[in-house]
């Protein structure tokens, strides 16, 4: 809690009074370390609204987004041809985040207008970018499929009401990062909204990376591929021999 207060104080001091309402926020952790026994991690995002003047009219809304690194993906659709199901059409999705979680203080559509959402890419469908000038009739089916599949995998979530706001000033939201997390620079975005418009936003980085033996093996596999391959084979042969010797000695056969 002490850390939280000092952080809050520092941020308050640094914040520039350009707008009437500002976000002062902090994260419970700025880095997630993936160890061999990593089972996921919880991140708490909290903060306060700093005002120079009394709060204007309209309901204050808070939207917090945690976004993983984006990668291009190929989405394929199966169709029945001559009695069997085969891949027919394919769409290249230029960028889809590996993880995308949204928490809001009220129903999403009440807080953010459609046009604002399209401009700032806040909602889940807006985060998936397809630029395709190909022959496929309805590419939106493909981006919807990406959303559906990732939602089922627990990688895309929308938690309406997940942000707790008290006295129109303090807010907090907690995010559960799943165990099947990809490495990279994650981003936490906080939006303050009023009457469907975004008043101000704040962005924080969360560095997700492997540590210890996970890091070492990953680097070895990429930097010393030959050595890594030979090591894999050596382990395989040693294990095969070990089991054989063990059974010979202990089961005498």
């Amino acid at each position: 809690m002490n850390r939280f207060l000092t952080l809050l104080a520092t941020l308050l001091a640094l914040a520039t009074p350009a707008k009437s309402e500002e976000i002062v926020a902090g994260l419970s952790q700025n880095a997630v370390q993936i160890t061999a026994t990593f089972v996921g991690s919880e991140i708490l995002i909290f903060g306060a609204v700093k005002r120079d003047a009394p709060a204007p009219e309209g309901q204050l809304g808070v939207v917090v987004v945690v976004e993983g690194p984006s990668h291009p993906i190929t989405v394929r659709r199966k169709e029945k041809r001559m009695g069997i199901w085969i891949n027919t059409d394919a769409v290249e999705v230029n960028a889809a985040p590996s993880f995308y979680a949204i928490a809001t203080s009220a129903p999403f559509n009440d807080l953010v207008d459609e046009t604002v959402d399209r401009m700032l890419n806040i909602s889940i469908p807006e985060s998936i970018r397809v630029f395709q000038s190909g022959s496929v009739a309805n590419p939106e089916d493909f981006s919807a499929a990406v959303q559906r599949i990732r939602e089922n995998q627990g990688l895309y979530l929308l938690n309406e009401g997940g942000v707790a706001v008290s006295e129109d000033t303090l807010f907090r939201a907690s995010f559960q990062l799943p165990a099947n997390l990809t490495e990279g620079a994650y981003k936490a975005r906080i939006y303050l909204t009023r009457n469907g418009k975004v008043i101000t936003e704040d962005v924080h980085e969360i560095d997700v990376h492997k540590v210890g033996i996970e890091r070492w093996l990953y680097n070895l596999a990429h930097d010393q591929a030959l050595l890594y391959g030979l090591m894999s084979l050596a382990i395989a042969v040693a294990a095969g021999w070990g089991a054989s010797a063990f059974f010979r000695v202990f089961f005498n056969s």
């Binding site: 993936i34 160890t35 061999a36 026994t37 990593f38 996921g40 990668h71 291009p72 993906i73 190929t74 989405v75 394929r76 659709r77 199966k78 169709e79 029945k80 069997i84 199901w85 085969i86 891949n87 394919a90 290249e92 230029n94 493909f142 499929a145 990406v146 559906r148 599949i149 165990a179 099947n180 997390l181 990809t182 490495e183 492997k210 033996i213 996970e214 890091r215 093996l217 990953y218 596999a221 990429h222 591929a225 030959l226 890594y228 391959g229 030979l230 894999s232 084979l233 382990i235 395989a236 042969v237 294990a239 095969g240 021999w241 070990g242 089991a243 054989s244 063990f246 010979r248 056969s253």
Partner: protein
């Protein structure tokens, strides 16, 4: 106990992997198959990315086959000479197979053709083997002595004859070479060791005794999968050593148990069981193609 896999980038239960490895190891030791054609779909199912599953599976097969071969070597049920001849053919076949694979990938239907090849091939092999071995099994139940199936066919009228002492064969080197080539091609295309094709081919085409077939097939699989592992490790970086270790601990123990079960079974029983297994995999793949999938869309790594 959850373990985060460094290359696959997913968290999985270590005991599930140990169990899977053990199960496939038993089959490996019993039948002389690597088990890749069973393990790879199982790994997909628990959420391992396909590229990592295929590459790591090759590494695990090295371990369980090595374990199995050592057990067979002590029983003198490995025909090393035959294994080497098959291997020469296999390497040539693998080379051709990789070219075919790249061609299929270029026209964009590699998945389908591989699956169709599997279904047709497994269906024929499994069906024929099942009928033949069931007949042999019933005959032996009836009290008659089963004649060793060593007929003189076209295989015995070819030049370059070689003596394969462990198999008790004196045949031309051409059929084993050709079998090796065909299996090599299939192995490269399907990403498996090819044991389930090799074993029936050795029994029915080459006429090798069933007991020798298992050890020899394992011997041949070690080299093929070791080569595959290195290829994947150096070009795609998809071998997950943590995953491999968990699978192979189960696998090597399973292989030892499987070998012991295998020697207690009669040759006909072994063949019936292998035929049933091949038919089961064939049915599963066939249904995948015929039934409507619950999710019509699939996600793959992007890029061109």
């Amino acid at each position: 106990m959850q373990i985060y896999l460094p290359i696959a980038e997913v968290s999985v239960n270590a005991f599930v992997l140990l169990g899977l490895g053990g199960l496939v190891g038993i089959l490996s030791g019993m039948f002389g198959v690597g088990g890749g054609f069973l393990m790879t779909p199982l790994l997909f199912f628990i959420g391992i990315p396909p590229a990592v599953a295929v590459a790591t599976e090759a590494n695990q097969i090295v371990a369980s086959s090595f374990s199995g071969v050592l057990a067979h070597l002590r029983r003198k049920t490995v025909d090393i000479k035959m294994g080497l001849v098959l291997q020469i053919g296999g390497l040539a076949g693998a080379f051709v197979g990789i070219q075919v694979f790249n061609y299929l990938k270029a026209i964009g239907q590699v998945d389908l053709l591989v699956k169709l090849a599997y279904v047709i091939f497994l269906g024929i092999i499994g069906g024929l083997m099942f009928i033949e071995s069931l007949r042999a099994l019933l005959k032996s139940r009836g009290g008659k002595v089963v004649s060793t199936r060593r007929k003189h066919n076209w295989v015995h009228n070819l030049p370059f004859k070689m003596k394969f002492r462990a198999s008790g064969l004196y045949i031309s080197a051409i059929p084993p070479l050709l079998v090796g080539v065909v299996v090599g091609v299939l192995a490269a295309i399907m990403g498996v060791g090819g044991g389930f094709v090799m074993v029936p081919a050795m029994i029915y085409i080459l006429g090798m005794p069933t007991k020798v077939v298992v050890g020899t097939s394992l011997f041949q699989i070690i080299l093929t999968t070791a080569f595959t592992t290195m290829m994947h490790a150096t070009t795609n970086y998809t071998v997950d050593i943590a995953l491999a270790v968990l699978l192979l601990i189960g696998g090597v123990i399973g292989a030892q148990i499987g070998t012991r079960i295998g020697v207690k079974l009669k040759a006909e029983q072994l063949r019936v069981l292998l035929a049933v297994m091949v038919l089961a995999v064939c049915t599963k793949l066939g249904l995948d193609l015929l039934l409507m999938p619950s999710e019509l869309y699939t996600l793959g790594a992007g890029g061109h």
